[in-house]
Subunit: 163 residues, 2 copies
DNA sequence: CTCAAAGGTTGAGGGTGTCAATTGTTTATG
DNA sequence: CATAAACAATTGACACCCTCAACCTTTGAG
């Protein structure tokens, strides 16, 4: 009763991405199990990111740009690398942020091909609020027992080091 | 030496999203610390998702749609809810998938306003390969000690239950 | 000096997303 | 029953994100 027919009872109420692979526990590797679970939880929570960015009148990508522009200047090409996107894309991205006076292009003295990006006063202020907002843990973490949080933190720190 | 001036030495080599908040350990809540770390790792790895989808000639969003269309039919409005987007957006999304014969619209008998979405044979096959690919854990998890993987799995299962 | 390579921009083209308005259908209400 | 309100999907206008190919300027190597 799966492929087609009268399976009309699916119109609502099912947890979004719920049914993935990892049901059979014995088979798949431990890493794959853990990854599938993690992906599930995170994906659910990443759906809110556009709304979060919108709280600051930013698109998701603009939020990422502000995030990267934390300390010091960044060449446009470097930003393109960080965003894993084409350089030509960054032009428009920065155009819009510059129009809103959140970011400034200033051409480098050493290499006049390069344009360095700097946050304006307003940009830095907005970034501060944005980062604080992003640091707020999602509900599923806020309601986690303390020991789990500690364990999770340890595991993640180890992973970051090894990476 | 932070705001402006000759900090031109930033053109490359820094790990992308690295410098977030969570540096001061004592201060912020445990949940916030763990969340920031998790976000860091996950964000780094979510950047590859477009490339992953492209392996199957799919855009990221198309991949999500296929993911949701796993078992049984889904009304378009339901899909819009799962994707947290406007219904009008789903129309074009499905148009393109239908043009590629991965998905079919069939109008419901019970309620003739509704159109139910079903995977075609080819769509189901593609989805299978896609899901298998997505289940492959990223490097930072593949190289995790077994005990960490077990602990992580346990924590995530508990979180999913409580959620 | 010459020329290849690199940084950034432009233009064409397509996917993603919103909002407002429209059509057709269902359901509730008088 | 008739009519109005609510709902599912679509359309059109508009903006953003993204890629590719072509281009210009600057740099650095031979």
């Amino acid at each position: 009763m799966n492929g087609l027919g009268e399976s009309q009872n699916e119109q609502a109420g099912r947890p979004p991405g719920a049914r993935a692979q990892g049901a059979e526990d014995g088979e798949a590797g431990l890493a794959q199990q853990a990854w599938t679970l993690l992906f599930e939880l995170l994906h659910t929570h990443m759906r809110n990111f556009p709304a979060l960015a919108a709280e600051f009148d930013l698109s998701p990508v603009q939020a990422h740009v502000l995030r990267q522009l934390g300390e010091g200047a960044l060449a446009m090409s470097t930003l393109a690398t960080y965003l894993s996107c084409d350089a030509s894309n960054v032009t428009g991205l920065v155009d819009r942020l510059e129009a809103r006076k959140l970011v400034e292009r200033r051409s480098s003295e050493q290499d006049r091909r390069v344009k360095m990006l700097v946050l304006t006063e307003a940009g830095a202020e907005l970034r501060g609020r944005l980062m604080a907002r992003m640091a707020l843990p999602p509900p599923f973490m806020a309601s986690m027992p303390e020991e789990d949080l500690l364990a999770l933190g340890d595991i993640m720190r180890r992973a970051l080091k090894t990476q």
